[in-house]
Amino acid sequence: MAKTKPASDVADLGLAEAGDARIAWADAQMPVLRSIRERFVGERPFEGLRVGMCLHVTTETANLARTLIAGGAEVALCAANPLDTQDDVAAALVECHGAAVHAIHGEDMATYYRHIEAVLDTRPQLTMDDGADLVSTIHGRRTELLAGGEIIGGTEETTSGVVRLRALEAAGQLGFPIVAVNDARTKRLFDNRYGTGQSALDGILRATNMLFAGRVIVVFGYGWCGQGIALRAKGAGAQVVVCEVDPVRALEAKLEGYEVLPGVAAAAKGDVLITATGNRDVVRREHYEAMRDGAVLCNAGHFDVECDLAALRELAVERRQVRPHVEQHVLADGRRINLLAEGRVVNLAAAEGNPAAVMDMSFANQALAAEHLVKTAGTLAPQVHGVPPELDEEVARLTLAALDVEIDALTDAQRAYLTTWDQGT
């Protein structure tokens, strides 16, 4: 479709055909995004607009990129994590869909940052982030991109990114409006809870092939992701222990029937420890010192800071790769701690990320949020905004239609009852 292929840096363009078949497979499970794409083909809301995307390079992201391209955008994409790129998808996006892609599975940190710079070199007018790497780089090393006033706005996919962006806003430095897609109900209630709940366990299974039934699984953090992981782990027959810092969340976990323990006490009894907090150093030296021989440690949060890996390496007298994605750390007393995917987000690193059907909802929000930013260009303050509720509901409606679910509507009398103050008895 694109006349000349834009500059790209991917592992092997020869993988394009295989990648495109998988993109089509995911597309079949993303009916909402597909319906939006079909509308965009006619309306061309992004005609000639440069979009910079820093998202996990997966089949689902490919379908989001296709949707934006179908709406007229020129897309440049890099990875939001060095381990999450699917090289066949990267190749297919370049060869079959006309995107510029800068992403290679397993790239080192220098390459990773070089790829972010390459996307920013296209002078994007819209940014689409998963972890805020584009926006924070713009506000750090690439402030000249702010000066031109060309950037209409950006969207942010995940909790960790929203936290960074709100900090930027609080510091008075955010240069353009951001729509926090993560905060849409149709994103966080589904992607985080049911998507990560399933895929984080999938990652652990693929990495270890262990049986969950009868094991003690410790979940650090009982936010939406942690709730999903705990729910599915319990369903698999595990005994789930939750660790929290927020008393309300902790109480929710307790009344759901989980054991709630401080981290170190939990570390001492866990067969599997999963972090899902969005914070750093959640599992650290004191936890490693308490852990059981053979414990499996992994992270389902966005960044690899949740486990203090430096401390783990310091404690280890030997480190060995025992299976793909499983690095065994042998401590001085002989205990072995099995770290999965180098402490990076395990569902993407060791499995395939969230299932397409749930990413469909998240990315439908992304596409509609991008359209919203363009339509309201110049009117939104440089702050972190929520997804407008009507877009959120539109995504839910489209998803229900795709699932053949019919729902009720309020009667006029009911609507009146809910909006007046003098009825009630």
């Binding site: 039934a213 009868g214 003690v216 319990k234 698999a236 027959g237 595990a238 005994q239 789930v240 109480l251 307790k254 009344l255 759901e256 029937g257 989980y258 054991e259």
Partner: protein
Amino acid sequence: MTALSSKTDFKVADLSLADFGRKEIRLAEHEMPGLMSIREEFAASQPLKGARIMGSLHMTIQTAVLIETLTALGAEVRWVSCNIFSTQDHAAAAVAVGPNGTPEDPQGIPVFAWKGETLEEYWWCTDQALAWPGADGPNMILDDGGDATLLVHKGTEFEAAGVVPDPTPEDSEEYGVILGLLKRTLGEDPQRWTKVGQSIKGVTEETTTGVHRLYEMTEAGTLLFPAINVNDSVTKSKFDNLYGCRHSLVDGINRATDVMIGGKVAVICGFGDVGKGCAESLRGQGARVIVTEIDPICALQAAMQGYQVATLEDVIEEGDIFITTTGNKDIITAAHMGRMKHQAIVGNIGHFDNEIDIAGLTKTPGIERINIKPQVDEWKFPDGHTIIMLSEGRLLNLGNATGHPSFVMSNSFTNQTIAQIELFTKNDEYERKVYVLPKHLDEKVARLHLDALGVKLTKLSPEQAAYIGVPVEGPYKPDHYRY
């Protein structure tokens, strides 16, 4: 004690409750499709004509439907409850009055049962129901826990010895009461129980605990008549024990205490069918469930379902709710209760009251018992902490609530009725042993309950039946299949 003293041949708490009982019986009949189908099927043939059935089984609304099924099939019936707390007084009144009688003119069956009997009263009731006007005694027993069977066997044993022993200090209070009763009957009629035992054609036994006693007597060669183990019908133990307890445990705890179960730590002692149902229901309410087991297979089952498996000693200070389901004795001791959290709830859903050491609790120096309401007692230890005991350690789903729901009891009681017909009409085919009902009857019981739930069964084709080597119409599984 509020029981009426009646000139007629029964004893219940209050006949004026009969109308309420009859209304609940009518509702229960709809929920007991198996029993009602059996009534229809055998209405004409009257297979229990001539049967004199003495029943010792919780005198509840569901049991009333069983009793009236037995009489509809031609049997004469006398009944007692098999637990001092489990009688529903309105059910007992309705059975005594009968469908065609009035409180002023009762025309039902002789029933001797009220909620809150003393041990002496309990065994007096059993004695009354075993005394048959115009005959030596019943010719059939329908037992739950084996108390009626026990009395006949002990009576026969002591009559043969010519003397009833005195209770020893190790004997339970209840055994002392039994010995007292037998001592009296030995004086009145030295052949009373021997004759009763000889007139009995067989017993059908409802529960795990009673079955256990029957197998022991078979081993020892002392069993006086054949027995059918109804408990081990799949449609009994895999339904009543599992789904019945899943329903009625939480019901009992709620009615007794109304505590929030979500967020609590519940300790279930025993992970048999009853324990499995209990664990599932408490987990469903949001409790974290810890299981104790002695059997490695059951323990592994619990672990694989995600329950923590620990010893009671290790978690005694952690639990908020303790439930015994073992069928064994001395599971929770007074020392255990001394270490529990303040206001820990302690209850038993096993058949007998010996799973929790109430006697030991009573003997604890300085202990104080504060009755909160019927079947709920707070026991205060000298250090000030208390525990809440449900139904004095007797099965709390019946003591604090209304036992298993009708639908599940319909499965159990349809088995009972079929077993009574089987033993009574084909008595020659049975030796002095314990039998289980054949598989095709078990499947029949299940079949009778499918329509009510809207279940559509798939039929085997003759080719499919041949392929797996079973008849098209069943039975579908070998006897050793575990379901």
